[in-house]
Structure formats: C-alpha cells, structure tokens
C-alpha cells in the first residue's frame, strides 16, 4: 500500500505540473491551431495522464483522457481543425480532468464526477468528420516523435478494427524508421572514415531527424493549407530553442517543510547576528583602541555579510516565478470574453519575477478577482468602445516587476475607468459613508471605496462579478501578506491597480519606536515618513487629535493609548509622529522616540496569545529581549475608537503623601559603590531612627525605585560609580513623574566647580563633599525630608 501511495504521489505531482501548463498552451493553440509543437505537447499530457491512470486503475480518468487523446490525436495529424467550439469541449474535458485529479488527491479514488456528457461530446468531435477513428488515415506522415507515444496506446480499449489498423500503422512506422536508420547509417558510415567510431551513434541521431520530419499533411482542409507551411516551419524552428534551456536546468524536488525549517534556522542566525553586532558595539566602546578590536570587527563583519548572503540564498530557494499564477489567466480571459461578449486581449509581462512560495499561493485569488472585475466593469462592450473612439478590443495588461524590496503586480485596463462621483453616490446609497465624508473625500479615497465590504458597482449582478464580495476579499488577502493596493484611474481612459507585496514574509525591515520604557516594531513597508513635532502642533477636532502635515490634515493617535501603556515617564515637549500609510488611508502614530531601523525576524506569539488585536507577532532583539510587532491594519482600525488623549499631560501618578507618624516612616536611599562609605552614612543617619535602603550603584538604585517597594523621601548619591554614575542616575530618576520632586543629595569627593554645575544640571539639590561630619549629613537629610521636629 505504501508503495502504491508513493507512486500515486508522484503521479499527482507530475499531473498537476503538466495540467498547469496546459491551459496556457490551449489558449495559444486556439490562435495558432496548426502549431504542431503545441498540439504534440498537449497530446503528450493527455497521454501521460491516461497511461499512468490506467496503471493506477483510475477508470473514470482513463476513460476521459482516452477520448481526449483521440480528439487531440486527430488534430495532431491534421484530420481536425480546432475551432473555438471544439476548443470549448476540450477545455471542458480538461477542467473535468483537473477536478478528477483533485478528487484523487483528496480521496485516492476517482469516483464522484460524471464524465459521460463530456465524453459524448468528445466522441462526436472525433467521429464527426466522418473519417475512421484512427490515425492510420495518413500513415505516411507519421513522425518520429509520435512513435514513442503511439507504441504505448491502450490496446485494451480498442475495437478489433482499431487494433488491426493500429498494428498496420505500427508496422508502417517501423518500416519508416528502419528506412531512416538505414539512411542514417549510410550517412554516418561516410563519416566514420573521418570520425572515431564512438561518435557514430551521436552523429547518427541528429541526421535521423530531417528524414522523419513530418511532411505537411495532405488531408488538411484546403482553405488553411497555404498558411500551414510557414507556421509549421516557425514552430519547428522555435521548438529547439524553447527546449534548450529546459534541459540545461538541473533541479531536484525538495519538501517544502525542509525549506521552511531552513528558513527558520536562518531566522535564528539573523537574530544571533544582530546580537553579535550589538555586543561588538558595546565592546568597542569599552575597549576603545585595543588591538584585538580590529580582528573582532573583521570577524563580525564577515559573519554579518555571510549571514545576509545566506539569507538571500535561502529566500531564493523558496522563490517561485509569478508565472505560475499568471498561467491561468489567458484561459480565464478567453472564457470571460465568450461569456460577456466582449473582446479582450491579455498582455502578460514579467512572469519570471519571483516571489516567496507562500505569497504566490496567497495572491492567486485576489488576482482572479481583480482581473474578473476589470473584464466585467472595466472593459466596455465592443460597440460602446467603438462609439467612444477606442479600438474594438480592450486590453488588460498584467505585469510584475521588482521595486526595491517589493514586488509590484500591476493590472492595467483601457476600459471606462472609475468615476469618483458615481462611487461616492453608490457608497452613500449603501450607507457606507456619510455625506460629510463624501464631500471631504480625495480622489484616492474614493477609489478606495471599491475595497469596502458590501460595495458593488455593477448595476446588475452577473455571474462574473458584482456580488459585492470580491474586492474587499482582495484587500484582506493582500494585507494578509503585508501588501498594499494602490488604485489609479481616469474616466474613459482606464484604470490601473498596483499590488505592492514584500518579497518574503519571514524577515522584514522594521522601524523600532519607543513609548515610555517599551519598544514596538512597525513594518517599514507601511511607514511613509516620520516627523518631529511639538505639543502645540496638535489640534483637537471633534474629540480627535489631528495635525497639519504640509497641506493635509492627519489624524493622530498615541501608541500608548492603543497599547495601554502606563505613563510613568515624563513626556518631553517634543514627540515623533510616524506616518503610517495603507493603500489610501493614512494615520499619524505618536511615539516618544524613534529607536531606528532594523531587520527583524517575525515570530508568532504561539497559540496561547495569538489573535491579539494590533499585534502581528514578536521578534527577538539584539539584546535578547522580545519586541512586539504592530499590525498596522488593526492599528488603523483601533485608532478609530481611541479618544483624543494623545500628548495630554500624563496621568498624574498622584503621589500619596503618607502622614509620617514615626521616624521610621521616613525612608532614605544610600547609593554608593563603597561599602565603607555606605556604612559611614548609615552610622551617621541611624540615630535619627529613619529607614535606610542601600544600593551599590546607579543601576541597582534605579531598579529599587522602579520596583516601588518603598516611598523614598530622599536619596544620597555618590557620583563616581560603576555601571551608572550619579549624574546619569539623577537624569534617569528625573524622567519619572513620580520621583520628580525627590530630593537628590550628592555625596562626593569631587569638589570642582564644574562638578557642582553638572550636579545641579542633573537635578541634585544638595552637594556634600567628602569628608563630612555625621551631624552635618544628618542635618542636611533632615532639612530635605522635612523631618518633623517632634521626632528629634
């Protein structure tokens, strides 16, 4: 059974690959019905599928493909001219074939699809022109290439007559072949004189070909005959050129899971690299001028370079040409033109542009919707087009190209374009927007309306589009892969839609922003610009914060309001606004500071925390900490519900001044790196009976303050300390609203005037120089903590 499964898997993979190419070929075939190369290719697909499926006992599929093969075989031998009507049937049968393959993939059996109707139609075609249903009719034109396939024909399904004919045909073929071989031998024989013997085979083979090249067929319907000759020559000439690259390209099939795993590992490596760079910077700072730094620098840069290259290389292994998606459109357009009675031509370019596999899988459906929409709503019917002075045939151009770190897929049509007034009226009618909104809407915003759920512009709902579900699905799908949609249009000239999609999903460029003590990463693709503003540039309109950005009014929201950040730190006079753009909508996000741009690896938050609004995932930073990644789409939604609190004076952490009832209610922190100094201070202050807390450096002191276990009334701070000195500590402390008025007393042996100045600048209130008397220290502390006289 396992062996069977294995064969089945191979069969399915091969068949799907073949079928994928088929649609495109068939449509092309309709335009050039005599292209033998194409016909042969299509015939081969039907034949391969038939052979394999009969081996695997898929009777329905075998039955269908057998009849398809008959029709194609006739066409291949020129007994049948492919007309659009015949093509319809062939296409139908191929659809059935695809459906069957899907069923087989899901259930390992080919039941449940009725092919009888289609088989009857196929039979009609293959029998319709009155000739016998065998290729024997023209034995003399049998070509070398068909021999291989013909030999594998399914004899079981043939009638005795057919069988006989087939045998006769095969005999003829063999004779032809022998004749050709003999001739080749003769030719080669002449060569042998000059060339070594081993080359005989090699030289013989190419020389066979001209002999067996199919001679133009006699039974070809006369009217077409003159045209046939040059086209065939063309096809023949083009064929070798087409095949050459295919044979050179060497590929192996790799399980996608393995590639995913590889990608994950690379992600880890990128994180480690970021970390290494950070450590390198730290080391550089600390050991400036040391010799080993040079070496370390080199190693770090090599590692980071190789990591980047490796990342690109692995990303490339996951890349697929977008042609894989584009392939199905010629067929779709063909069907649509017949259905809608319009004349539409599809121009595809840039199908070699590559995209990550996961993205290629996601963009198929949105593109189908967009192209259907262009056909249905965009391109006008031939008579309207003629009346408007355009050519009867409409054109839809589908192109893909690289633009920086993104892929752009552009869909242009030369149809009637989008009418903003009509769009607005429609949206008003459906209650999607208010009158006021309609008036203030820019052209771009109006185009954006077609992406709104529940919006449909077709007056009548057709089979093709106009159910009002299409375009908003497009929007969600594109946003899912972090892409954006840009619409441009001119009434009467046409419209153009650009989908901008990042190259890969796993590793992105992000802007890191800070709010209070937290950091967030914003995907750089959605950041339009950043601006620095002061508080008085923010206005409030209808309860929402806005600012003027050049000639636009930009609505603002504070990131802290969205992510419920507690305002502990004092907000400075200035803030930064990150302008987020998503398609046509814009939003200004106020943040406290900008940290910088970084390459980040997206990690999921796991099942437990997934689906948190506004958070797309997390990443691990160079310092090993976790930073959350904003989901810009959700952010814009959430911003609508946030009231204007941005930049308002921070929620005053109302300090409860506890009534002091005993000396130990007073708490003073002693910060000094010297144990002796701390003991001296303690000895001096202990007689007062106050509570004393010690810290050995600035960082530790800050942590104690942050923990908030004590309500300090004063701090004694040494200036010279490792990790964080007294000045920096004071500066840090003053950032906290809560400790703004905490008296900081410097206790130091630095006596210079500039030292004192720095102390004052950083917020120290007193400056005690060592050595000092115990009484003096006690009195300074008492004064600063407002020590009640009765406790003395």
């Amino acid at each position: 059974m396992d062996e069977f499964q294995e064969i089945l898997q191979d069969f399915l993979i091969e068949s799907f690959e073949l079928v994928e190419k088929l649609d495109e070929d068939l449509v092309e075939l309709e335009n050039t019905p005599e292209d033998l190369e194409l016909l042969n290719g299509i015939f081969r697909v039907a034949h391969t599928v038939k052979g394999a499926s009969s081996f695997l006992n898929f009777d329905v599929l075998t039955h269908l493909t057998h009849h398809m093969e008959d029709v194609l075989n006739k066409a291949r031998h020129g007994d049948l001219l492919i007309t659009p009507n015949i093509m319809d049937v062939i296409l139908e049968s191929i659809d059935l074939m695809k459906a069957l393959l899907n069923v087989i993939r899901d259930t390992s059996a080919d039941a449940g699809i009725d092919v009888a109707a289609c088989v009857v139609k196929l039979d009609k075609i293959s029998g319709g022109d009155g000739e016998v249903d065998t290729p024997v009719a023209t034995p003399e034109v049998v070509e070398e290439e068909s021999v291989a396939e013909a030999e594998e024909l399914d004899y079981d399904n043939m009638s005795p007559d057919d069988l006989e004919a087939e045998i006769e045909r095969l005999l003829n073929e063999r004779q032809e072949e022998d004749k050709a071989k003999r001739q080749a031998k003769v030719e080669a024989g002449e060569d042998v004189l000059a060339a070594p013997e081993i080359e005989e085979e090699v030289t013989a083979e190419p020389s066979t070909e001209p002999v067996s090249t199919p001679v133009p067929v006699t039974p070809t319907p006369p009217p077409v005959a003159p045209k046939v000759e040059p086209q065939k020559a063309d096809a023949q000439a083009a064929a070798p050129a087409k095949r050459a690259p295919a044979t050179v390209e060497q590929t192996i099939r790799v399980d996608v899971k393995r590639l995913d795993h590889l990608m994950n590992l690379i992600g880890e490596l990128v994180l480690a690299k970021n970390r290494l760079i950070k450590i390198n910077d730290d080391v550089e700072e600390r050991y400036e001028g040391e010799e080993f730094l040079e070496e370390l620098n080199q190693v770090v840069s090599i590692v980071s370079l190789v990591t980047t290259d490796l990342q690109i290389a692995v990303m490339k292994t996951r890349m697929l040409p977008i042609g894989k998606v584009f392939n199905k459109f010629p067929r779709m357009i063909r069907d649509l033109t017949r259905e809608l009675n319009k004349k539409i031509e599809l121009e595809i370019s840039g199908e070699d542009t590559e995209l990550d596999k996961s993205i290629v899988e996601e963009i198929g459906d949105p593109l189908v919707h967009i192209i259907r929409n262009s056909c249905d709503h965009g391109i006008e019917t031939p008579d309207i087009r003629l009346a408007a002075g355009k050519s009867e045939t409409g054109t839809i151009a589908l192109k893909a190209y690289n633009e920086g770190n993104q892929i752009v897929i552009q869909i242009d049509d030369d149809g009637k374009g989008l009418d903003t007034e009509m769009l607005k009226n429609k949206a008003l009618e459906k209650g999607l927007i208010s009158e006021k909104e309609a008036d203030s809407m820019s052209e771009k915003e109006a185009f954006g309306l077609i992406m709104r759920p529940g919006f449909s512009t077709a007056a009548a709902v057709t089979n093709v589009s106009g159910r009002g579900v299409g375009m908003d699905v497009v929007k969600t799908n594109i946003e899912k892969v972090n892409g954006i949609i840009d619409i441009e249009s001119e009434v009467g000239v046409g419209s153009s839609m650009k989908l901008k999609i990042p190259l890969t999903l796993a590793i992105i460029q992000a802007l890191l922003v800070g709010v209070q003590e937290e950091h967030y990463a914003i995907p750089l693709a959605s950041v339009l610009e950043t601006v620095r503003i002061s508080k008085d540039e923010i206005y409030t309109v209808e309860g929402r914060s806005v600012m003027r950005l050049r000639d636009e009014v930009l609505s603002l929201v504070h990131i802290g309001d969205i992510f419920e950040v507690e305002r502990i730190l004092d907000v400075s006079e200035h803030a930064y606004v990150v302008v987020l753009g998503l398609g046509t909508s814009k939003l200004g996000l106020i943040v406290d500071n900008l940290v910088g741009q970084e390459e980040i690896v997206i990690k999921s938050l796991g099942d437990y925390l997934k689906g948190i609004e506004g958070i797309a995932g997390a990443t691990i930073r160079g310092d090993g900490g976790v930073t959350l990644i904003c989901d810009v789409v959700a952010l814009m939604d959430m911003a609508k519900g946030v009231k204007a609190t941005a930049m308002v004076e921070s929620s005053s952490a109302a300090e409860i001044t506890h009534e002091k009832s005993k000396p130990s209610d007073y708490t003073v922190m002693i910060v000094d790196d010297s144990k002796t100094d701390r003991t001296i201070m303690r000895k001096a202050l202990e007689p007062m009976g106050i509570t004393l807390v010690e810290a050995s450096d600035g960082q530790e002191a800050l942590n104690i303050l942050k923990a908030g276990d004590y309500n300090f009334d004063a701090m004694l701070v040494d200036i010279e300390m490792p990790r964080m000195d007294g000045y920096s500590l004071a500066t840090e402390i003053k950032k906290y609203n809560r400790y703004k008025n905490l008296p900081l007393i410097a206790v130091t042996s630095r006596t210079g005037k500039s030292d004192r100045m720095r102390g004052v600048e950083s917020g120290m209130v007193e400056y005690i120089t060592k050595p000092y008397s115990a009484d003096y220290l006690a009195s300074v502390v008492q004064r600063n903590v407002n020590f009640k006289a009765e406790f003395l």
Partner: protein, 165 residues
C-alpha cells in the same frame, strides 16, 4: 570477610529490587511548588525546564495574569503569573521566584511561582480526587495528593496551558 561482602551485596540487591518496585506504574513523580500559602504540584514530565526570572515584554490587551512574553533561547513564550491567576495579589519577584516552563504537545508557557519545594514521588493510591465542588472539566485541579503530613494540589497541565480569555 567474604560473608560480610556477601551480606553487603545481598543488601544492595535488595535495595535495587525495592527501587525497581518503586519505579513501577504505581508511582507518580511530581514537582512541588508554592504559590501564596499553598503547595501545588505538576507531573515532572510536563516540565520543560525551570529557570530563574529573566526580563519579559508586556503584551497589551491581555488579562492581568498574563505578564507578557519572554525569550527562551529563541522561542517567544507567554509568561503567566499564577499568583494573579489564582486570585492573589501580584508580588515582586525575589531570590526564590522561578519560571516554570510547562509543555504539552505544541503548547508551551512559562508560569511564575513563588518558590520551588522538591521533586516528589507519590503512590497513586495516595492521590485522591479533587473535592466534588472543584471537580469537573472546568477545574484546574487534577487531584489531591497526601504525603506524610502535607497536602499537595496536583494541577492539570492541559488546563493551565489552555487559553481562557
């Protein structure tokens, strides 16, 4: 002399035998920890690791008992404060605080506990069902273990790792 040796060997064999008996299916191995005043336990095999507190990142829009996420060797793992989850007030982390990283299937989460006690071997028959009032599918309690003079509340790992907001 050889008699003595024999005796020792015999004794060792006896011990080994009794140990192998202990390891039979009747024994459950647990790790005990304290939250607030109570002692709780989880099966030792559900514990991926126990680490000292490290820094974590707050995640917005989550209940109070979810402290956030932390980085465990490259994986982003949620951190849950069991004190808050069990209705106690949160407490600052100290020397004895530990992060318990529990794992079941693909679900992994870290839990903050006040203090570790010890690895416990307990006979199955010494584990009683949870009190009727607390039993049921919704309960986080798997059973109550009795050992010497203490009582252990054994928690359902699956329930702990289940998202309930």
């Amino acid at each position: 002399m050889s008699d003595k040796l024999k005796q020792i060997i015999n004794k060792q064999n006896e011990q080994q035998n009794s140990e192998t008996l202990d390891q039979s299916n009747d024994i459950v191995q647990l790790v005990g920890f304290i939250i607030g005043e109570e002692e709780y336990a989880v099966p030792i095999l559900s514990i991926q690791e126990i680490i000292k507190p490290i820094s974590w990142t707050r995640v917005p829009q989550t209940p109070a008992y979810i402290l956030g996420v932390f980085n465990l060797r490259g994986s982003v793992i949620p951190l849950i404060d069991l004190r808050v989850k069990f209705g106690l007030s949160s407490k600052n982390h100290n020397e004895e605080t530990r992060f318990f990283v529990l794992k079941q299937g693909d679900d992994v989460a870290g839990f903050v506990i006040d203090r570790l006690t010890m690895a416990i071997r307990i006979k199955k028959e010494d584990i009683g069902p949870a009190p009727d009032t607390l039993a049921g599918d919704e309960s986080m309690i798997d059973g109550v273990g009795k050992q010497d003079d203490r009582i252990l509340t054994i928690l359902k790992v699956a329930k702990l790792l289940e998202r309930d907001f």
